[in-house]
Symmetry: C2
Subunit: 334 residues, 2 copies
């Protein structure tokens, strides 16, 4: 038989509601009764039942985390685990718990989100990637349920909570740096165009070329499935037609595929830059120049924004931009 609030009340010689008030740290409660109640709780080893509290409160103190389950490759990307740790570190501090769910497709994401919300499982939702016209974002806006998204949503910037890197300027900086070092013909290989992060990085790439008066060659730009294999083929395609002196990529895994393709060339002097600063990027030979996007910070701010909204606290803004850092390694030192 579990010990309930009633047992505590009885032992402390007060009413259940008083015990409840003590737990909730209600202001108008005398120090004397507080002490009595705390003692009774200790003596009985009482612990509030979260489920009962949730039912009465209509608040579960749980956040639902939607994780994509794309390719193996993509998945083992430490990005997600870093994000999860960031989310958890803030949430835990605030007494929130995280429920996660892997979703294979956008359809399944929608289904999971609706289930989380309809069944009243969670107070808020965290999305970890943003598509161009994201149905999840659209739905969440429509049903007006609290959520935050990692990655800038294409529409409704103001209404939506989001955290992201400034991917345009991050990639701009990479390309700019390469150009300053004397690279002139720079290719771009990226993931699916439907994700805003890819679009942004492509935009930064284009902008940098433009600002430096360099032409944009469509045949040097490839987007697609960001696996090592696909990226290898993408690089081969480019190298068959032309010979860039550098290739920037939207992910380290993409860069690895590109490096493999370059390795088969006679002239291997092509600089490569990845993105995300995965552990692998440092281990590879040659080590890979890449961009650290501070994934853990992205996660931490995501839960921060969401929890603040749930507790209707004032926030400076509805979004955060997390800084990035270009890390130069051997793959750009030719």
């Amino acid at each position: 038989m579990p010990v309930t609030i009633k047992d505590v009340a009885k032992l402390a010689g007060v009413s259940p509601s008083t015990v409840s008030r003590v737990i909730a740290n209600h202001p108008k409660i005398s120090q004397a009764t507080k002490t009595k109640v705390y003692e009774a709780m200790k003596k009985l080893n009482y612990h509030p039942n979260v489920i009962a509290r949730s039912l009465a409160n209509r608040k579960t103190y749980t956040l639902g985390l939607i994780l994509p389950n794309a390719d193996e490759d993509l998945f083992e990307n430490p990005f997600f685990i870093q994000v999860m740790r960031g989310i958890s570190s803030y949430a835990q501090k605030k007494g929130y718990y995280i429920m996660y769910s892997y979703c294979k497709t956008e359809e399944q994401e929608l289904k999971t989100i609706h289930h989380f919300i309809n069944s009243k499982w969670v107070d808020g939702i965290i999305l970890t990637t943003t598509r161009f016209k994201d149905k999840c974002v659209a739905d969440l806006i429509k049903i007006n349920h609290p959520f935050v998204v990692i990655g800038r949503p294409e529409e409704n910037h103001k209404k939506v909570l989001w955290v992201d890197n400034d991917n345009v300027s991050a990639m701009y900086h990479v390309v700019h740096t390469l150009i300053m070092k004397g690279f002139k013909k720079i290719g771009f290989i990226g993931g699916e165009h439907e994700f805003t992060v890819i679009r942004d990085r492509l935009e930064g790439y284009k902008k940098a070329l433009e600002d430096h008066g360099l032409p944009y060659y469509p045949h040097l730009v490839k987007e697609g499935n960001p696996t090592e294999k696909q990226s290898y083929h993408a690089a081969c395609d480019i190298l068959k037609k032309d010979k860039p002196d550098a290739i920037v990529c939207t992910d380290d895994i993409v860069a690895f595929g590109v490096l493999n393709a370059i390795d088969e060339q006679v002239d291997k002097r092509i600089a490569v830059v990845g993105f995300n600063n995965t552990p692998m990027s440092a281990y590879k030979t040659p080590s890979l120049s890449t961009v650290d996007i501070n994934a853990e910070t992205l996660g931490r701010y995501a839960s921060k924004l969401l929890i603040h909204q749930l507790e209707s606290q004032e926030t400076e803004s509805s979004n955060y931009i997390v800084g990035t850092k270009y890390i130069e390694r051997e793959s750009t030192l030719l």
Copy 2:
């Protein structure tokens, strides 16, 4: 105002309990009322409130996942994310959700476990690593709460649900294979001795040496913090005193540190084997021979065992041994 079971009952012209029975797929319910109720649910867009159901049922359909948060290095180890995916894939199929929590220390693990249980958040607990005399395991046994552990607990084999690789024979096989290839003086560098997985792999190492009539040299064996840096130093220590022709490691990250140390040697002809088949192991130059431990399968079986126990289904046994596979790559081809 949320739509409840009462609204459905009213519209369908039945009692709330009948609706409840329809939801639970109770056998003794006429097809006619079933249809009526389903229609009413559709019409009202009704979704059961899990929290209320949990309170009435004393069952949350939620599993608590305890994740260690050791070193950055360790953490970005894809092992955990693979395990998580495995857990989730089975749980989701069975209608269970997963709540995760990162714990920095064993103390915090204990605290989190007790909180999960005391507050009635979860039906069962999943532990992702096992220490030698694991306090979490001991506590969970003491309070007799359902749980499963990934890694074989040192004590109470029979009473506890667990899944693990056969780490003794996995490492035995590695060392055996090396010996068969002509390696004679084989070192061992591993993680903390407090973890059973490390103990087991060490045991397999010793056994293989013994079975092949090779001596066990304590100065060729190091255990400690399994970071790249620490492992580098451990390897340096060994190489200062002696010159093994192979070193087996309990983790790929350890092996990377060892490779760095070897790289500084004049004679680099020392074979290295890692463990866990991380993506990095294939990318490294030279690529690293390693052992695939099927982390996702470990996770899947863990949730399977736990959920079966929660639903008091018969299980063939209280534990699973998940197969391993030695993957030979360049680091052992000298």
